[in-house]
């Protein structure tokens, strides 16, 4: 029953992904084309050789008209081929696939931290609005939102890795969880604040409703009132914020990955932009776009689960 109900909206969303990805690829391609810089020259370091530059441009079809270049890329993409990296001379699919697990792991961990901590903070603050605890938690949330990711990463690294020695300073290790903690905390911090604030305001709103007063009047324990009656209704806007926050995670990823030497897609994308390695840029942006769209699809599905009215609509 549930699956049948979900298949239509999911299918619609997946179909909508196609024009979104097409639009993004075109936009990135145009942005790259109008940006100064020549991939062939960037490949050669400090000493360029005009003949070699011309030869590389020919080899990579960089001397062809832009629309031809785009069409070639798109035709390859339709056959499942993301092309070859100019800089690394390897298939882009390989370059992206190597970094994807690290990015995925970091994004999931950061989201879990943000949702867990954000909801806890929001609920704790909403139970006693205007209390000291509320002010403290919401103050912390604002600090979390407004702290630059790079700076926060450095401070966490200094405190927990250099001074206390609890976690490694940087690196992926062999995938050990200890390596993930500080990058995930850093990346999750920004999002934690947003979720906490939204959860608090939404919950405070719901708690004022008559049915909550009625539940309390029945003598239900406060925890049961919040957990059973208030939270579910308060969650809808929070889930929206989680979806929007995916973009923050993607934006914050390159900085977090740089501070913690985390071998993810964000760092790779920034390096590829600097090298004008267009195939890698396009490949990474497409992956980011897919993550974003699929993440928001999950959020939409969560609406359906939380609120039966949406399902009926």
């Amino acid at each position: 029953m549930m699956l049948a109900e979900l298949s239509q909206p999911v299918g619609k969303r997946l179909l909508a992904l196609i024009p979104v990805l097409f639009g993004i690829s075109l936009l990135v391609f145009i942005l790259n084309a109008v940006a100064l810089g020549d991939p062939a020259r960037a490949m050669l370091g400090q000493r360029g050789d005009p003949e070699l530059i011309a030869q590389i441009r020919e080899e990579y079809a960089l001397d062809r008209p832009l629309w031809v270049q785009y069409w070639t890329w798109m035709a390859r993409l339709l056959q499942g081929n993301l092309g070859r990296s100019y800089h690394q001379q390897r298939p882009v699919s390989q370059v992206v696939a190597e970094r994807f697990p690290a990015t995925f792991k970091l994004a999931i961990a950061a989201t879990l931290i943000a949702v867990g901590a954000g909801l806890t903070m929001g609920i704790a603050a909403a139970i006693r609005p205007a209390s000291v605890l509320d002010h403290l938690l919401m103050g912390a949330a604002v600090i979390g939102i407004s702290t630059p990711v790079f700076w926060l990463g450095l401070m966490l690294s200094l405190l927990f890795a250099v001074w206390l020695g609890w976690f490694p300073v940087s690196g992926y290790g062999d995938g050990a969880l200890t390596h993930l903690v500080l990058p995930a905390l850093t990346l999750g911090a920004l999002h934690t604040g947003t979720i906490a604030r939204m959860a608090r305001s939404s919950l405070v709103e719901v708690i004022r409703q008559d049915y909550i007063q009625a539940a309390r009047a029945k003598g239900l324990a406060e925890l049961a009132v919040i957990g059973k009656h208030a939270l579910k209704n308060a969650l809808i806007p929070v889930v929206t914020v989680i979806g929007i926050g995916l973009a923050d995670l993607l934006v914050g990823a390159p900085l977090t990955e740089t501070v913690f030497a985390w071998p993810g897609l964000g760092r790779m994308l920034v390096a590829a932009v600097g090298q004008r390695d267009l195939p890698v840029v396009m490949g990474a942006v497409l992956v980011f776009a897919v993550i974003y769209v699929l993440g928001n699809l999950l959020v939409d599905l969560a609406y359906l689960l939380i609120d039966p009215r949406i399902r009926r609509e």
């Binding site: 960037a42 000493r47 360029g48 970094r99 940087s170 740089t258 030497a261 600097g274 004008r276």
Partner: protein, 518 residues
């Protein structure tokens, strides 16, 4: 008891080098390739130099020393180099090295990203243009003899043979793997390729069959750590054995009770400068260029922004360059002279000149230098507009002649004045090849051509000094400072060469000479 204490305190060389252990270094970016033919960056070179060998190598004093070639002779006309290879050298996959591998490697690399390394060899240009099937100047008369003929004498040729682009690769492995050779390199070097997790780490293992015997170290781990402050933290927590000193920490580490024992600063072959495009008004006027040159105070940059950890620029060649002549000097900081020349150029106190664009590539230090230059030029009435681009865009603009006044750094590929002066100022190299000033001076070209052909020695260096002074007098280039390598090295790391060609964090030094005293 005392004897034991003295023994422990004795210099390590007296006790002998220790075998075993893992050396842990870090790079700021992932090497794009481990194929000597494709590399153009120092990160790739730092790994390539451990996996591969060249015919000759440069020692710490920059003198060519035997490597795969046990000896060589040079013909009287300085055009024919005959290298005799060592017998019994094995590649890491087991096969013995042959002279044919040298020919294959050179022809393969000539078609790679650094063709200029081979362009002096007779027939190289025809080969590169597809007019010949081989480089006729590379001959293999015997199984272990390689004879290389140059078009004309070129004194730094042995330096080119020590360059990592000229590393020797096994034909069958390079052919079999094709582009994959860049990820699975095989050479004759003291370390063989172990593993590579992109953007995370490259691991090299000792090659026990190296022709010089197994290296001291068992393994080298190069971590990829982009943020210099993170590398510094990893070093402080004992996870790296050497690293670079982060920008702005040079004095602090020298004051730190522990770290000051581990600081190593040495000059390298690089210069940070500002250049003019002499074809682009208003810099076609030499007096205006000279006015700008006189208005710049390199000392303020060195003391104010670089904590005195580099050497203020005077000439073009860095002090560590063979042939460096302290008598060659650029325009001294002199605001009165600057104002006078500005007026003579028709712009008294900068009137009528309009704002001038200064182009530089992104980076904290470059930004701060640009701001300082802006203030220094304001003092004589020149308004500087700062134009910042990322490196790819900056180099494209500069190569194409689109920038009139711009930043440029240069680090020598090999220790010879030709690699600075001819590459950067000869009229045949206008544009991407190096002469981004688009400077054409027939007298300078003649002098450089003459010096390039001469055997190395005082006469040759005198000509370069004359050429350098000519360029400085014409105010085509204003040196700001000469680079140094600023490193932290743990006291137990021994044998890590501090050559002027080796700069932290990459360290292009041969790590087979390194051992760990702990």
């Amino acid at each position: 008891m005392l004897a034991l204490a003295l023994l422990l305190a004795a210099p390590t060389g007296a006790i002998g080098q220790k075998k075993g252990g893992v050396l842990r270094g870090a790079f700021n970016s992932d090497p794009p390739t481990l194929d000597p033919a494709q590399a153009t960056d120092t990160t790739s070179s730092a790994v390539i130099r451990q996996i591969f060998d060249t015919l000759v190598e440069l020692d710490e004093t920059l003198k060519p020393a035997p490597a795969l070639a046990e000896r060589w002779t040079v013909s009287k006309d300085q055009k024919v180099y005959t290298f005799v290879l060592r017998g019994g050298v094995r590649f890491q996959h087991g096969r013995e090295l042959r002279a044919a591998d040298v020919k294959f490697s050179f022809e393969r690399a000539a078609r790679g990203k650094r063709p200029w390394v081979f362009e002096k060899i007779a027939g190289a240009r025809e080969f590169l243009r597809g007019q010949a099937g081989e480089i006729r100047g590379v001959r293999v008369p015997e199984d272990l003899i390689v004879e290389i003929t140059l078009d004309r004498p070129f004194a730094p040729f042995l330096f080119l043979m020590a360059y990592d682009a000229a590393a020797i690769v096994p034909r069958e492995e390079a052919t079999r793997r094709g582009a994959e050779f860049a990820s699975h390199p095989v050479g004759t070097g003291a370390f063989r390729f172990g593993s590579w997790r992109r953007d995370d780490q490259v691991v090299l293992e000792a090659f026990r069959g190296h022709f010089r015997g197994a290296p001291y170290l068992d393994r080298i781990v190069f971590r990829i750590i982009p943020a210099e402050i993170t590398r510094f933290n990893e070093y402080k927590t004992g996870n790296l054995d050497y690293t670079d000193i982060p920008t702005g920490h040079c004095r602090a580490v020298q004051r730190d009770a522990t770290l000051k024992q581990e600081v190593a600063i040495w000059p390298i072959l690089g210069t940070h400068a500002v250049r003019f495009n002499v074809e682009r008004p208003p810099f076609t006027d030499r007096r205006l260029r000279q006015a700008v040159g006189h208005a710049i105070d390199p000392q303020a940059i060195v003391a104010g922004l670089l904590e005195g950890c580099v050497v203020a620029g005077k000439g073009i060649l860095p002090p560590a360059m063979p042939g460096f002549n302290p008598g060659v000097v650029g325009l001294p900081f002199d605001r009165d002279a600057a104002r006078r020349l500005l007026a003579e150029a028709g712009f008294p106190v900068g009137k009528g000149l309009g704002p001038i664009s200064f182009h530089y590539n992104t980076g904290d230090l470059n930004q701060r230098i640009a701001e300082l230059l802006q203030a220094q030029l304001k003092a004589i009435g020149i308004t500087l507009e700062l134009r910042r681009l990322d490196w790819a865009a900056h180099i494209k603009l500069v190569d194409g002649g689109g920038a009139g006044f711009f930043r440029q750094g240069w680090i020598a590929d090999y220790p010879d004045p030709e690699n600075f002066l001819t590459v950067l100022f000869h009229s045949r190299n206008i544009g991407a090849a190096g002469n981004t000033s688009r400077y054409r001076n027939p007298a300078l070209d003649r002098l450089l051509d003459e010096a390039d052909l001469m055997a190395t020695g005082p006469d040759r260096f005198r000509r370069y000094a004359e050429a350098e002074q000519m360029i400085l007098n014409d105010a085509v280039w204003v040196s700001l400072y000469h680079y140094t390598s600023r490193a932290l090295i743990k006291p137990y790391v021994r044998g890590l060469e501090r050559s002027p060609l080796s700069s932290a964090p990459e360290f292009l030094a041969p790590l087979r000479k390194v051992w760990l005293e702990r």
